[in-house]
Symmetry: C2
Subunit: 189 residues, 2 copies
């Protein structure tokens, strides 16, 4: 079965308004069956990263910060945005070290996910860093204010349950490394 019946044809692209964090692009596309033209927004962004870091004592390195989108605090695994020309693995190691002071350990890729394939063009690269240690002080940007928490998996499940850890990207990162979900359906059809 080919995908021709659901494949859109891009006709043109033009830049959108200036925004922080994203570069807005508008694409003009032709619907696969009706031929009608639609204008769709794409938010171009650098690659993102997320790091599930486990200390040599077996605790997860989590960060608490005020998040401007929701206007409230969250607890999450460390995330970040790649600088221009920076490999995602280097972004991940840099962000973990800057935001928490933890580094070292054995790094394993947990693959990449799409934050929002409908509107964003980038991927979120996920790692598990096992056996990290505190090797320096936090080194935050002037625009950051972050508190570090060392947590057991049970404590992580508690902050999910009480609504403080709901960031879907960080949830997926942690869920790739540790069994945090109680499945509603354990049956495997």
């Amino acid at each position: 079965m080919t995908n021709d019946s659901i494949r859109w044809q891009k006709i043109a692209s033009e830049p959108g308004p200036e925004l922080p964090l994203f570069k807005v692009r508008y694409d003009l596309l032709r619907h696969p069956s009706s031929g009608e033209e639609f204008r769709r927004m794409v938010l171009e962004a650098p690659e993102w990263v997320n790091v599930v870091a486990t200390t040599t004592e077996g605790q997860l390195v989590m960060v608490e910060q005020y998040r401007f989108g929701i206007g409230d605090f969250t607890i999450e695994s460390v995330g970040g945005i790649a600088d221009e020309g920076e490999a995602p693995i280097d972004t991940a190691k840099r962000e973990l070290l800057e935001e928490t002071g933890y580094g070292g350990g054995v790094w394993q890729s947990l693959g990449a996910v799409q934050a929002n394939p409908a509107t964003q063009n980038n991927l979120v690269h996920i790692w598990h860093a096992d056996g990290v240690q505190l090797i320096k002080e936090q080194d935050l940007d002037p625009g950051e204010a972050i508190r570090v928490h060392l947590m057991s998996v049970d404590q992580v499940k508690e902050v999910i349950a009480d609504g403080r850890f709901l960031n879907v990207i960080a949830l997926t990162a942690v869920a790739r490394a540790y069994p945090i979900w109680d499945y509603v359906s354990g049956d495997n059809p």
Copy 2:
């Protein structure tokens, strides 16, 4: 321990440029320790939904479509955006029926997650709909082109592995209902 050391104070808000899907707002906020002022972008959006639907035969109802952000096809559980004044559960039932023709079944809330707490103000509400049946034809918007796939959990794991199912919101929805991840670390510290 209070959060005063990481609590930002909002000083002012102003509207940003016009965009589809999001209403852009800029907040002016004061850093908790330095007192320096920063302008942060918030993308205001209606509530989003995602539905893990299982047929009476035990198959998952998945949708394949061309995603404009990544410029490629994805396979996912059904997602959608609440109309103005629409309760998220009604959005979820409407979107499943419109995009796939499946309905009915027993609906269980799997909670809500944040698509991006750093920039977005909305939540994604997740449901498991167990025992759905094909009750009508697809009823797509003019701007949609969607193919329905009925898949076993093993088939879902295959399209995750081959990179066709990477939408982090839908991955979390399915992972809440079915054990799709092989944990890199099964230890529970």
